[in-house]
């Protein structure tokens, strides 16, 4: 479930409001968006993937609430980690990830 929207990182682009498939966020004029309907979050991590400022953190617990603070997320390098793993991070290209997959597959065989 979405746990953190970092006000210090947020650039108020409202991308998360636009892309959330279950409409969890509300846009707030002149402010950062608000997590308005947390219980509707389906824990798909796509807001994290789309956030250009790595300001969101979705915990992997789908029903339970887990408390996080920003320092801890920074220390564990969890802000933007999913975006990076998709190859969507700054200076990355998803094609690099695919090249890596192809190379590894040639090396250890195709799992499927």
């Amino acid at each position: 479930m979405i746990e953190v929207l970092s006000l210090s990182r947020c650039i108020q682009c409202d991308k998360c409001v636009k892309v959330c498939p279950t409409n969890v966020f509300d846009a707030m004029p002149g402010e950062s968006p608000k997590i308005a309907r947390r219980e509707d979050c389906q824990t798909c991590f796509l807001c994290e993937a789309y956030c250009p400022a790595d300001a969101l953190f979705v915990d992997a617990h789908a029903e339970a609430r887990v408390q996080w603070n920003e320092e801890e997320l920074v220390a564990k390098d969890l802000f933007g980690a999913y975006r990076k793993n998709l190859g969507w991070g700054k200076g990355q290209s998803p094609i690099d990830n695919l090249k890596k997959i192809h190379a590894l597959r040639e090396l250890v065989g195709s799992p499927f």
């Binding site: 029903e63 793993n85 890596k100 040639e106």
Partner: protein, 548 residues
């Protein structure tokens, strides 16, 4: 007078596509390439909506070589109870082969080489959908995001002429009058939070049924996938590397069969007590682990975020219901062009029954993506042609809104029903393994009786003081309707076939090799529909491959 009658956005198009996943995107592109003006309306955001965007699976594309395609066609043919049709498979694989590589081109990538096994893998779901959205916009297709369609519009002769709904962020109603309408708004997973599935609430099935459409394959809706117990991440492929343990750390054998997890065996164990998993089979090499990580980043997100190493540590699992999203039921396709039994109405992707290439069993991304790309392209082209043939006649049509239950009171009532209690009631009937996986006449009748009560309740006045409440009420109606069709069809299929398992009829019955059309709103009905293809014998090469 409902909220939908208020003035709002009014659009006219040749083709309206309802939905926001790969089938919807492909249908829109195919219709536009045929010269049609196209509007897409989606509940969420075309790019993140539905199961595929949330998945990180890159599906395979196979060149036209029987040796490569046959294993895919025959792999699940018997599992699906011989209800798939090879002529559909061939057509869908051909379309995928022709169309899927365009995604690379559109995304600005070099077209990949086919790998050592003869196949190439597509881009991951989230990236594919990002590219498809860009293409839709480049082609001048108007996308209404966050705008669920709530009801279809029909003309005097009962033909579908568009739809209307609400923008859930601005609360402004929208109406699209269209020559042809394609429902590609997903299946139903009953709000289980299975990965990416909560936008899939059976909306398309209910809208189709209200205008006389039929469903098919609804008895094949008991698809569950394992996920770490705390999470939403239903990714089944990697469980082939799993060892299973009970709470005392003793290994449980027999939960993987033929290299795949067995849902019913896992469900039986879970009914006894907690089950734990570790990915410790054939995953010793660091390069293997790196490959698995690179291929399915979201599988590992579930562990990285909570600090579990899935190769070294055990974690508890649960099975989450994926319904018809990975099951196969949906709107019945009635012709070769993905048309339905209703004029002007087409269906594609998970909103349609996937029995034509998957029969009564599916699961993985390969067959499902082939269906999404294939049916999307077929429906898009056919809808564009249908709209063109209507010509000027379209503008003269007098259209009426066809939505009923969940939108307005069907019987006078003073009290207002609340979606939350209805949703809870449906979940209690469809989630439990001993009701949905292990079915019998008794369990089905018990559940149908409870669902009947819910259906009666929602004939009253829905909570609709806000746009959000109206949308939820309508979703709740879709959830009840699809659950009733699933169990009613399950009652009629007195055998075990595909993923439909009857404890009181444990064998496959050769006399029931047919589809089951199902429909009706207050009074349900079902009837067998013959499979227009004899059982296809497994080709010689495949037998040899199996022996080797």
């Amino acid at each position: 007078m409902s909220r939908l009658d208020e003035s709002g956005l009014e659009l006219v198009a040749d083709v309206l596509v309802v939905g926001g996943g790969p089938a919807a995107a492909w249908a829109a592109i195919a219709a536009a390439e045929r010269g049609a003006s196209v509007v897409v309306a989606d509940k969420g955001y075309l790019g993140t909506s539905g199961a595929y965007a949330a998945s990180t699976s890159g599906h395979k594309v196979l060149p036209p070589v029987a040796l490569l395609r046959d294993p895919l066609k025959f792999e699940r043919y018997a599992l699906g109870g011989f209800l798939a049709q090879h002529k559909w498979w061939d057509r869908l694989l051909e379309i995928t082969y022709e169309r899927a590589p365009r995604i690379w081109e559109w995304g600005g990538y070099e077209i990949p080489k086919y790998g050592r096994d003869g196949a190439y893998r597509g881009l991951q779901g989230s990236e594919t959908m990002r590219i498809l959205r860009k293409v839709l916009l480049q082609k001048g297709i108007q996308i209404l995001d966050q705008s669920p369609a709530l009801e279809l519009l029909v003309d005097e002769e009962g033909a579908v002429g568009g739809a209307r709904g609400l923008n859930r962020q601005t609360n402004v109603p929208w109406t699209v009058r269209a020559g042809a309408t394609i429902l590609a708004n997903g299946g139903v997973a009953w709000l289980s939070k299975a990965l990416g599935c909560n936008t899939n609430t059976g909306d398309g099935a209910l809208m189709a049924a209200e205008v006389g459409g039929e469903l098919s394959g609804m008895e094949f809706s008991a698809h569950y996938s394992p996920a770490p117990k705390y999470s939403s991440v239903t990714k089944s492929a990697y469980y082939r590397y799993a060892s299973y343990y009970d709470k005392d750390g003793n290994k449980i054998e027999g939960l993987n069969r033929n290299g795949h997890r067995s849902t019913s065996a896992i469900a039986k164990e879970l009914l006894k007590g907690p089950v734990f998993v570790k990915l410790d089979k054939d995953t010793e090499l660091p390069e293997q682990r790196e490959l698995l990580r690179a291929m399915q980043p979201n599988f590992f997100a579930a562990f990285d975020k909570v600090g579990i190493d899935p190769f070294q540590q055990q974690w508890e699992i649960n099975l989450l219901l994926e319904g018809t999203v990975r099951g196969t039921g949906g709107i019945r396709i009635a012709d070769e062009e993905c048309g339905t039994t209703v004029k002007g109405l087409y269906a594609a992707g998970d909103a349609a029954s996937r029995e034509l290439n998957c029969g009564g069993f599916t699961g993985g991304a390969g067959p499902n993506m082939t269906w999404a790309i294939g049916s999307g392209n077929i429906a898009g082209r056919a809808a564009a042609d249908f709209a063109r043939n209507l010509g000027g006649g379209q503008a003269k049509r007098v259209l009426q809104a066809a939505g009923r239950v969940g939108l307005t009171a069907q019987i006078p009532s003073e009290s207002v029903w609340d979606a939350a209690s209805i949703v809870k009631g449906v979940k209690e009937e469809v989630f439990p393994f001993d009701k949905n996986i292990f079915r019998s006449e008794k369990t089905l009748l018990d559940s149908l009786a409870k669902l009947e009560e819910l259906w009666k309740t929602i004939q009253g006045t829905p909570l609709s003081d806000t746009a959000q409440h109206l949308i939820r009420s309508r979703e709740a109606a879709g959830l009840v309707a699809t659950a009733r069709w699933s169990y009613f069809a399950g009652l009629a299929r007195t055998e075990t076939r595909g993923m439909h398992k009857r404890l009181d009829f444990p064998q496959i019955d050769p006399n029931q090799r047919h589809y089951l059309a199902v429909g009706g709103l207050d009074r349900l009905w079902t009837r067998p529909v013959p499979v227009e293809e004899e059982v296809v014998p497994v080709p010689e090469e495949k037998r040899k491959l199996q022996l080797a």
